[in-house]
Symmetry: C2
Subunit: 419 residues, 2 copies
């Protein structure tokens, strides 16, 4: 059979198979390694995965890549970023290191509202131009699909501008983007002290505007809420997400970053695709993850970025039978890092994941966390050909080594895009 | 005046001036920023640094680089690595994540003796080939000078082979290497339980062999000892270093990584150029750093690599008036990271350094930590032209952002080597 591309002679092809869904509980870390492996690709999809000798017999290819004893993995999927935003907060990081308190930083115009002001003021073109380099770095470090969010607009025009920017960003570069609507990311300054009123505004104005946008663009958006003490409580989160579901959004929740309010249990109850952060998650909520279909998304860059010492309790979530994914949370306030390799390194050190568990959490389970587990995240026949060749023979160098870049070659939908 | 190279139109030229020595105590973090800056280079050295308009008036150049609103800093100096070594220990990292104890890892053939066995068995050519990619990565991430060490030989032939490998590595690529002799890195398995005898062997056999090598190659080596509970105590460290000084070595000490034995005080007393690790450093030793000329080298990658929670007490060292540098400790056991940008990110988060302090610690003070403060580490006239152009207008993005690579262009001794 004639194919477009044959990648062969890989020391290891890490298939990272789906288990009729995400890899759950103690089964996380199944890489399905094929030694001296090869992958055949046609029309942007994987046709076959197997031994080099077998695939070289079965297929002739227009293009071949000799992996030459290197390791091959699925492209990373980053299921939680705050791209697109405008500007940076390096000054705020400096103030914090100099000992400034959160209140002092806020008084100096810092914090999330600083990014909201910048993002509101930026034109669509400026917003796109500011975020393209971030996606280019994600790609060079191996991310082939990512979630992106609104939430720095917090008013109709700016939230819709963020959605429009995502579409433009998706069009202009290879990392494939999933879109999330997060008007309930924070209570904007102009609604200060009137959280219930802002929630009503989200429900009556912003969600319908997002729903119109969905219809116009013929895509399904996720709707997400930052369920946290001092931001949106469980009742407010429930009200927003319930209305969002009625309008056709799929659901996500930011939960338990600083306090465990019950946001994760709510996510499972509402059938949310993922619950993200999950640092202070109560035992009851961990048990709920083991029963439900909601993916637990750990974001170890966030406590790392803030030099905090508590991370997502991965072992408890796995012991309960939950499905765990990893994501970068890439954002200008707490953790500006585009590299899923770095996230894997943090997941190994601070969540106690083995390299195999972290790799599966950053690929197949991350794909399920954005509702795309059937299309990407593993090297199985029928999946999109999103493939990395690492500059090492052993996948276990992921996580073990950190700070640089082990990705040598990136193939996206069958096309060579890096290397 | 005609020069070889003019770099101009930098948003910031971070000069990071020497203060007739390293930047000490509260004066750490003096970047001497020149806005809209330029640098003139002739014969591999910096001729002038100043405003673009002024230097464009004064100099005509064979080559120009338009920094185009980007930030320019000195090349990073990495004053503590364990390059060259052979092989990896990804399996051991996996065992540790899987819950194996230190003793179980040792019983499985892991730990430092695993790297010693590999390094002893490798030929000189294999050792060079295995380490070249590490230095290439260091360069791409902005390191232009680095210290390298023996210590995985622990017998005469293998220690000398490591020294020979350093010379060959120095010759084959642009990162300029400083050489350290560390036969007292560990007590090798064949001397188990006979530490005093091994110390005698170091003093009577290995140090003279190193001294002969110095004479033959006409370079000065540093001699270093791993002064730590269960390895070499203060008396043994003193005996080795005293003999080393008599033989013409300059001195360094690994001290206080796991216990504060007094190694740092000893380093100051013996006039060592640096004392490195310094996690459990007693107050008395911190006070000694404030009085003496020994540079305190923090290695935040090491506790990070091991997911430990104690780091070099930078603020106390600075409050005592000490001179603090940063280094990677790049090694296959505890922290395989070649990026000084990552080290800066860790130093900001876990040692409480501002970006300016961390940058000075990774450049001018790091240069003093390898005895080269007069040649490299700052962008001052007369210094070697080791220059980075970052892909950002603001040096404060160093540390704030992590996981990827902000270095766009590297100039080493006046030659464009990256970008």
């Amino acid at each position: 059979m004639q194919v477009d591309l044959l990648i062969h002679s890989a020391s290891q092809v890490c298939v990272v198979p789906a288990h009729d869904g995400p890899q759950r509980g103690s089964r996380l870390g199944d890489l399905g390694i094929i030694e001296d492996g090869a992958i055949a690709v046609k029309d942007g999809k994987i046709v076959a995965v197997g031994k080099t000798a077998v695939l070289q017999q079965k297929f002739t290819a227009d293009h071949t890549i000799n992996a030459n004893g290197r390791c091959v993995t699925p492209g990373f999927v980053d299921p939680h970023t705050h791209i697109p935003w405008y500007g940076d907060r390096a000054n705020e990081f400096e103030m914090r290191l100099g000992g400034a308190s959160y209140m002092e930083i806020m008084a100096a115009g810092g914090g999330i509202m600083s990014t909201v002001r910048n993002t509101r003021q930026a034109s669509l073109d400026e917003l796109v131009a500011d975020n393209l380099p971030r996606l280019e770095r994600m790609l060079r470090w191996g991310t082939t699909s990512a979630e992106t969010k609104t939430g720095y607009g917090l008013e109709k025009a700016a939230e819709l501008k963020q959605l429009d920017a995502m579409v433009e960003l998706n069009r202009q570069q290879p990392v494939e983007l999933t879109y999330t609507f997060l008007p309930a990311h924070a209570v904007p300054a102009e609604w200060n002290g009137r959280t219930d009123d802002y929630v009503q505004y989200v429900i009556t104005d912003l969600l319908p505007a997002g729903a119109d946008w969905m219809e116009k663009h013929n895509v399904t958006l996720f709707c997400d809420v930052f369920c946290e003490a001092g931001v949106f409580d469980v009742a407010q989160t429930r009200a927003i997400l319930t209305r969002a579901a009625e309008l056709g959004f799929r659901l996500k929740v930011h939960a338990d970053e600083f306090e465990g309010l019950g946001g994760t249990r709510l996510a499972v109850e509402l059938g949310a695709v993922s619950a993200d952060h999950l640092v202070k998650t109560p035992d009851e909520d961990i048990a709920a993850l083991g029963q439900g279909d909601t993916i637990a998304v750990g974001l170890p860059g966030t406590p790392f970025g803030l030099a905090e010492d508590e991370y997502t309790p991965a072992k408890a979530i796995l012991a309960a039978g939950g499905a765990l994914a990893l994501a970068s949370d890439c954002n200008p306030g707490t953790t500006w890092n585009e590299s899923m390799q770095m996230v894997i390194a943090l997941g190994c050190r601070y969540m106690g994941l083995t390299q195999a568990q972290a790799l599966a959490a950053a690929t197949i389970n991350a794909a399920y966390a954005i509702g795309r587990g059937d299309e990407v995240g593993s090297l199985e026949a029928g999946k999109q050909a999103d493939i990395l060749i690492l500059d090492t023979a052993d996948y276990r160098q992921l996580g073990y080594r950190y700070g640089t870049n082990l990705v040598q070659t990136v193939v996206k939908s069958g096309s060579l895009v890096v290397g």
